[in-house]
């Protein structure tokens, strides 16, 4: 039984552009997304990265047509699809829970979309898709008879077989164990470049995002904080959130004291650090700068005659954490927050021990300057909630409490 509203025949041979213009999504009680603007070029592998509750899944559902935006427009391949329903859009989703129809066989699952579109040789195409994910020999089984990894591949085949203009992936690898996940990451990337579709991948796993995507957008509290190639995002974060969500960072807050032609110096409680101007968002007043822990070197004695490096010290090692590939050191300097250093384990014995006195140095060019400031060290031991709905609940409770006191 075919459906006349549905995109007929084959889709674009390659993927299509996706544009989100001024998207806002409000739920009763809280705002999930506020004025989001995003363009994803055709044929790219795009990752939307962020903590749970940041709005990334909502964005995905808006693109899929499973939700309607409160404000804004969605364009696919230049066409405004904001008012179209999910079954009318040339978009397919790989769901986090796979959502395989339990009462149908694998083959029926995969051919479902094709049959709704009235495509003639649906079963043949479905078999081809199953061969692509190496599951054709199980075509007659029901989903309950497959393992988690196999179900995930079926979910992928079911979506890909429709050659959509845009393929959406909602944290599809979350339920898989590490080894299987790595395998699927490579397979997904291969399928994407082989078939040439546009992939929009939503995840909270930053390693996954950076490995697979051409472009990564980091999302927080309903907004995109920064977007770009993985390496660019990692080496030059623009906000404190990106700097700490994507990998780890050492952040220092201080005042700009000297400004040079290509760099400036910041005073952090008496310690001076130099930052290249083109790697900093702000150049005067109170600023926060940072450096990645793997860029910092440990020295037993004060390094002399070095140029182009920031040198701070002496400090004491207050924690040593061995993690196989590298060792993580925590170094405390007097009057400063502890600095984290990752040192690759190039030898089989630890180079430094708890309590050792050390100096730290890193290349000035590796320093970055943020657009916002980091608050003073947080009062509580545990990180604050980043979930937009939870934030809204807490805000409302606070308001109610204030009203009661009044």
């Amino acid at each position: 039984m075919s459906n006349n509203d549905v995109p007929q025949g084959g889709f674009a041979e390659a993927g299509a552009d996706l544009e989100l213009v001024g998207i806002t999504k409000r739920f009763p009680g809280f705002t999930a997304i506020e004025d989001l603007n995003l363009t994803i070029p055709a044929g790219s592998f795009f990752a939307l990265l962020g903590p749970s509750g940041c709005g990334k899944t909502t964005t995905l559902r808006l693109v899929a047509g499973l939700e309607e935006p409160t404000e804004g427009r969605i364009l696919i391949g230049g066409k405004d699809v904001t008012s179209t329903k999910a079954y009318q859009r040339p978009v397919n989703t790989v769901f986090q829970s796979y959502a395989l129809f339990p009462h149908m066989t694998i083959l029926e699952n995969v051919s479902f979309g094709l049959k709704r579109r009235g495509i003639k040789n649906a079963d043949v195409l479905a078999h081809e898709a199953l061969q692509l994910v190496e599951l054709d020999h199980l075509a007659g089984r029901k989903p309950a008879q497959l393992s988690g990894g196999q179900q995930q591949r079926v979910a992928l085949a079911r979506a890909v077989v429709n050659r959509p203009a845009l393929l959406l992936l909602d944290e599809p690898l979350g339920a898989l164990d590490l080894k299987l996940r790595r395998q699927m990451q490579i397979e997904l990337k291969d399928i994407q470049s082989e078939v040439g579709l546009t992939f929009l991948h939503v995840t909270h796993d930053q390693e996954e995002a950076m490995t697979m995507a051409d472009t990564v957008a980091v999302m927080n509290k309903g907004q995109i904080e920064q977007m770009g190639a993985p390496q660019e995002l990692y080496e030059l974060p623009r906000t404190a959130f990106v700097a700490t969500f994507l990998g780890q960072s050492n952040l220092f807050t201080g005042t700009v004291v000297t400004t040079g032609s290509r760099s400036f110096v910041v005073d952090i409680s008496g310690v001076k650090m130099e930052v290249p101007t083109e790697r900093a968002q702000r150049h005067s007043g109170h600023v926060t700068i940072g450096v990645r822990p793997e860029k910092v070197n440990l020295h037993d004695s004060e390094p002399t005659g070095v140029s182009g490096r920031n040198v701070i010290g002496p400090g004491r090692i207050t924690d040593v954490s061995f993690s196989g590939v590298s060792t993580q050191y925590e170094v405390t300097l007097p009057g400063q927050a502890p600095v984290t250093v990752f040192a690759q384990n190039t030898s089989i014995s630890t180079l430094h021990r708890d309590g050792d006195e050390v100096w730290l140095s890193w290349q000035i060019d590796h320093t970055f300057g943020l657009a916002d400031e980091v608050d003073a060290a947080p009062e509580s031991r545990f990180q604050a909630d980043l979930d937009t709905s939870m934030i809204a609940v807490q805000r409302r409770r606070k308001l109610e409490a204030e009203l009661e006191e009044a």
């Binding site: 047509g65 978009v91 129809f101 479902f112 089984r141």
Partner: protein, 265 residues
């Protein structure tokens, strides 16, 4: 103390189960009693009652009426109830609280009140009491139970499945008939069975609204004064065995399915 508690509950439960089964066993045993009219004292063992159930015509007629009423009322209640259950879970509408209360109240209303009320209304409306009024009454009280049963099933459905259906180009109608309905079917069947059971065994509401018609329970009630023929026990026992058989079959097929799935992994 722990050891005592462990076997004490097994012993207690064993006794409780026996206690629950006593009247059932009694009824079944007395269906083999060689008695004509009054089935109170044991006279002797016979298969006669089972072989010639419908010799006492009235019993079979009453049974037939009960089955007919049960089937019709079940069809009506299941259809109306499933529709409401889906609406309750999936859609927003005004007066939700009022509707919920309206659905719930018949379950909380004592049967005498329901029976008397319907009878009073039929009286005022001038509707003659008979099979029709019985069916209408049964549909009413089964409706709420159907809604509760199906609603639980609808609420337990993974919404992602229907979203996947919409994502894969299924129109709303196609998503409903190809995905939602097949998955609701077990709940609907359970509701239908519950509805039939309730209707078949109902006495109080039926009694108020049956006029001259006889259902199986009403037959038993009127016969209780002078003596219930053993054929009634036969029918009750047969229904019991059938019901137990259905339940056991359902359990075994579910267990077999589970074993098949586990082996296939």
């Amino acid at each position: 103390m722990k050891g005592f508690g462990k076997w004490a509950i097994w012993v207690y439960s064993g006794m409780a189960f026996v206690f629950l089964l006593i009247p059932i066993v009694y009824t079944i045993i007395f269906s083999f009693n060689d008695a004509r009219r009054t089935n109170i004292i044991w006279r002797g063992f016979t298969f006669n009652n089972w072989l010639n159930v419908c010799e006492a015509q009235t019993v079979c007629e009453a049974f037939g009426n009960s089955v007919l009423i049960g089937v019709v009322a079940t069809i009506l209640a299941t259809t109306l109830g499933t529709m409401i259950a889906i609406a309750l879970v999936r859609y927003r509408f005004r007066f939700r609280n009022t509707t919920t209360l309206l659905i719930f109240l018949p379950m909380a209303t004592p049967e005498v009140v329901l029976g008397a009320g319907l009878a009073a209304q039929f009286l005022q409306a001038g509707v003659p009491k008979g099979l029709g009024t019985i069916i209408l009454a049964h549909t009413l009280f089964c409706l709420s139970f159907v809604i509760v049963t199906v609603r639980a099933r609808v609420a337990g459905l993974d919404p992602a499945l229907e979203e996947a259906g919409r994502d894969l180009y299924g129109s709303p109608a196609q998503v409903f008939w190809r995905i939602t309905f097949p998955m609701l079917l077990p709940g609907i069947v359970a509701a239908a069975l519950l509805s039939f059971a309730l209707s078949f065994d109902d006495f109080i509401i039926t009694n108020f609204n049956r006029g001259a018609e006889v259902t199986f329970p009403s037959f038993v009630y009127t016969a209780a004064a002078r003596g219930i023929p053993p054929e009634a026990n036969v029918i009750a026992s047969a229904v019991f065995f059938l019901a137990i058989a259905l339940v056991l079959i359902a359990q075994f097929s579910a267990a077999a399915r589970r074993r098949r799935l586990a082996r296939a992994r």
